[in-house]
């Protein structure tokens, strides 16, 4: 079994301390989400985007789709971040999981190419056939948001 859960990549946590990732919705980095088959091996140890075992299908372009971040905010003592849901339209895709990665990191202090942010495990193969394939991000609150620092 290739996917074993959702992970905030360990390398991403380190890179945050180097100031490598900017999630500002208007002037921040470009984040993408790539879809993978069940043959992919993505874990917390994943450090960067790879095309190996990435899905292929109608209206899916290698590298995945660009995500739209919502400006970081906070709730109580928890900082949190959300993305706008991502949809591949009129697509024929089967995917088991995904990787969110940064295509334009700040490399002033650390050398990076397409560094990994988060591994998403869909829990099983998800398929669209000449339809829409949408990744719905969780509610942006201190208990559910996709990225939280508590």
């Amino acid at each position: 079994m290739a996917f074993t859960g959702n992970f905030m990549c360990t390398s991403f946590k380190k890179e945050l301390l180097y100031g490598a990732h900017d999630f500002d919705s208007s002037s921040g980095d470009t984040f993408k989400i790539a879809l993978y088959t069940s043959s992919a091996t993505l874990t917390a140890a994943t450090t960067a985007y790879s095309a190996t075992n990435e899905v292929s299908g109608t209206n899916y372009v290698a590298g995945g789709g660009a995500l739209t971040p919502v400006d970081p905010t906070s709730s109580g003592t928890t900082a949190l971040l959300d993305f706008v849901d991502e949809t591949w339209s009129t697509a024929t895709i089967t995917a088991r999981g995904a990787l969110i990665y940064n295509t334009t990191p700040n490399t002033t202090s650390i050398a990076l190419t397409n560094p990994a942010v988060i591994v998403l495990d869909f829990g099983g193969d998800k398929t669209s056939t000449a339809g829409d394939f949408t990744v719905v991000f969780p509610t942006a609150d201190s208990s559910n948001a996709i990225i939280r620092i508590a």
Partner: protein
């Protein structure tokens, strides 16, 4: 000495919604939209929870109505674009959807 600790949380869960041979309906999209706007905790005070759920149901109806209006309005735009391009038969097909 002052010490501080920062922890990160990784208990997130995404959902994947797919369709076959069609797009999402206004009802399906409105449901997702309502979930983005209002999250109701099962642990909330029962009275507040009931009020929030009632509000969510009303919100859902409004969202569905205006999404349907948006679909109809967009078809009007597509109809006119096709008509202007001389594709009257195709335009009529879109209008009848």
């Amino acid at each position: 000495m002052i010490a501080s600790a920062v922890g990160n949380v990784t208990t997130f869960k995404v959902a994947v919604h797919t369709t076959n041979g069609r797009g999402f309906t206004p009802e399906e999209l409105a449901e997702r939209c309502a979930n983005k706007i209002i999250a109701i905790s099962d642990d909330a005070n029962p009275a507040i929870r009931a009020q929030a759920r009632a509000f969510r149901e009303e919100l859902l109806k409004t969202l569905v109505f205006y999404m349907r209006e948006a679909v109809k309005s967009d078809r009007t735009t597509v109809y006119n674009v096709l008509t202007d391009a001389g594709q009257t038969e195709l335009a009529q097909y879109i209008r009848r959807l």
